[in-house]
Every structure is written in C-alpha cells, then in structure tokens.
Symmetry: C2
Subunit: 213 residues, 2 copies
DNA sequence: CTGTTTGCGTGAACGTTGTTCACAAATTCA
DNA sequence: TGAATTTGTGAACAACGTTCACGCAAACAG
C-alpha cells in the first residue's frame, strides 16, 4: 500500500514543482514538502541530499519537457510539409514562449538556480539538455542552406537561441500584461526575420575590426 | 568625527556591493553588514527598511554606472569620428560585456532581484534606467538610416539589446573560462553583423504568417 | 543651568529556515 | 525466531531576517 521510494520521490518532485511555480525558489521549503507529502522532514532528506538536489531535479524535468515540446513542434511542421526556415524557427520560439508562460514561477527559478550553481567537475546534465535545444535549432538552420560550415552554423544557432532567450526573459521581468506578450512576440518576429535575411546576405561573415578592450 | 547618516548609508552600500559581488544574493546578510560597518544590526534597519531595499539601492548604482559606461563609449567613438552603426553597436555591447565581467557576482544578483520583485504601482526607477540604455541603442540605429519609423526603430533597439543581454547571460551561466568570453564575443559579432545586414535588406518588415497559438 | 523631549544606536529576543542525528519502527536476512 | 540492516521520525542546532524595549546623547524649553 505504502508508496515505493521512487514513487515517493516523484510525489515530492511534483509537490516541489507546484511550490516553485506558485512562489518561486523561496517557496521551496523542506517542511512544506514534508507536510504536503505526508512524511517527516527527515524523510525528505532521506530521498534527496538537500533542497538544491530537489530543485535541480525539478529543473531537469522542466528542461526535458521543454526539449520535448520543441521536438513536437518540429515534428508537427514536418507533418504539414513546412520546410521554410523562418517558419520553423518561429515555431520553436513559439513553443519556448508557451512553455515559459505555462511556468511563470518555476522558469525564473530555473534560470536563477542555473546561474547560481558552482563549477562542478565532469559533464553537466544541465548543459547536455540545453545543448539538445541548440542542436534542434542548428538542424533547422542546416536545412536553410546559408552556406555555413558546421562551426559557423553551430555558432549561429547558439546566437539565435540565446537571443530568443534574452528577449523572453527581458520581457517577463516586469508585469505580465497581455501587452507584454505581444511585445515579446513582435521582438521575436523582428529578430528571426532580420536574422534570416542577414544570413541570406552573408551578414554572418561581416566582420568589424572593433574588438573588446 | 562620527559618520553622517548619509555617509554611513554610503558605507553600508559599498559593503553590500562587495558582499554581493563576492558571494551573490545569499551573501548579503544583515549581521555581516553591521559587523563590517562597525554598527549594530538594528542600525542597519534604521538606515534601510529591509535588506531588499539595500539590494535595490546597490542595483540602482550598478545600473547607473552601466548607463554611464555606455554613454562614455558612445562619446569616445564620436570623438574619433566613428559613425558606422555596426561599430557603434559593437562598442555598446563591448561596454556591456566589460561591465558584466567586472561584476561577476553582483550582476547575476541584479537580474535575479529584478525578476523577483512584485508588481509595484507607479513608474519604476528600474525600468527608467533600462529604458535609458534602450534609448542609446535606438539613437545609434537612428543614425543608420534604415528607413524605420519611430515605433519600429524602438522595437528594433529593444530586440537587439535584449538579444545581446541574452547572449551575455547565457554565456556566463557556467564556468567563466577565457574560451567562454571568446564565444560570447563571437556570438555578439555574429548577431550585430546579421542584424545590421538584415535591417539593410528590409528584414524588419518580413512578416511570416505563423502566430503563436 | 536643569528638566524634558526627541531621536538614534543597541543587542537580546522571536519566528522561520535548512540540516543533522539519536532513536524507534519496520523490513530483510540467516 | 532472532539478528542485522534499512528506513522513518521529530526534536534539536545553527543561522537567518526582523523587531523592539531600553538607554544614551543631543537639542530644546523654561
């Protein structure tokens, strides 16, 4: 009858995700988790080393779902026979925006947590998940045939996606009016349009001789 | 002999800035401030309502300095007679990157704090400072003569600067290797190059008919 | 000059947090 | 069944933000 260790971990993570989404990182408290899960505080620390591990696990799940949403969006467009690069990038961005909007509290927590982590040894599962997103974008750019070599295409993918990310996070810092959502989408449309046009005209190779000091 | 109330506030802010820069937001503790400033905990709360107000004040100073750095960079280029849009945008971005690199601990704290604040009534001094940065970029774009109306130019400025911001923040989440700094600058060069090329070829008006669901 | 008022610095104290740990219960093994 | 091992428990600890009754010193009134 009693829940398995793994099942209880899942329950704890589900509770943690709800708490994060409702009140941000400060709302993730050991005692609240224990109470809502029907276990004691000590048991939480029996399942996870500390709250950081809980937070990390929740973030992993979120990033996993985000990657899946991106892949789904791409698959949908493929089914419709859409091959236009601009359309596909915009669809990826739309999936990203939808995801962030669906997790108003926990997505900022993902970023804040990710920024706070110390330099750890070994390959980071975090980076692996983010790289998966970059790879999707790079795949779309590959179909665009802009005459980019692999390195330059990967650079362009990271640049484009970091830019989308910046627009979304900059846009959602303040009040989340509906005007805000419109502004964000206008910026994304402008970015993607300009980016594709720029790549078509070889802007990726336009080097200026200014360097940072 | 004893410090003025204003002088003590300055001292507290200087200490707070150092603490934030060294250990992030979690390192801003009332007792540490009190100890280093040579006053009691209560006195800190006599000068500031709570630690959030201290953090906010530190962030204001940082944003102020960032705006000043941007203006200085523009003035320097003007003195050299540089009017090229790409050069000027890159100089702005370089100033931004330098600033973030100079404040490895407190700049993430600015972002995390800014993201956490509740919807407050009235005009936000935060937004005012950020708008000042956008205005500088918009001014540079105005000199580019891309055939943009005011609204569209403002949108382009926000888009471009949010993108730069995204590249910088995405790049500095993990280990701050020197390779990381190079990657960031490559992305910024690519972004600005593509952006300018895209604007020159009317990419800002290239609308796709895909909309978010 | 003295008594009063006002303002500010003080640090003990409160409530809440993450985390630990000695112990009890339960489960597994021999 | 008895022993051994694992798992669950909640009281206890340290550290945190924040408050507040108290005392001191300066400013003011008479």
């Amino acid at each position: 009858m009693a829940l398995d260790k793994e099942e209880m971990s899942e329950k704890v993570l589900a509770i943690a995700e709800t708490l994060l989404n409702e009140g941000g990182a400060d709302n993730l408290k050991a005692r609240t988790i224990a109470e809502q899960a029907g276990i004691s505080v000590g048991s939480v620390y029996n399942l996870f080393a500390d709250l950081d591990e809980v937070h990390r696990a929740v973030n992993m799940r979120l990033l996993d779902r985000l990657g899946a949403a991106g892949l789904t969006a791409m698959a949908d467009l493929e089914r419709q026979g859409v091959t236009d690069v601009q359309h596909r990038i915009l669809a990826m961005a739309a999936a990203y925006v939808r995801f962030v909007e669906a997790h108003p509290g926990s997505w900022p927590a993902v970023l804040a947590f990710n920024r706070r982590r110390a330099t750890r040894p070994g390959p980071d599962p975090y980076d692996a998940l983010l790289d998966a997103l970059f790879d999707i974008v790079a795949g779309v750019l590959e179909a665009g045939d802009f005459g980019l070599d692999d390195d330059r295409r990967a650079l362009a993918a990271r640049t484009l996606w970091s830019s989308v990310h910046g627009i979304v996070t900059s846009g959602y810092v303040a009040n989340s009016d509906s005007r805000q959502a419109e502004e964000i989408w206008h910026q994304i449309e402008l970015l993607v349009g300009v980016f594709v046009k720029g790549l078509e005209h070889g802007g990726a190779f336009a080097h200026a001789d200014t360097k940072p000091a």
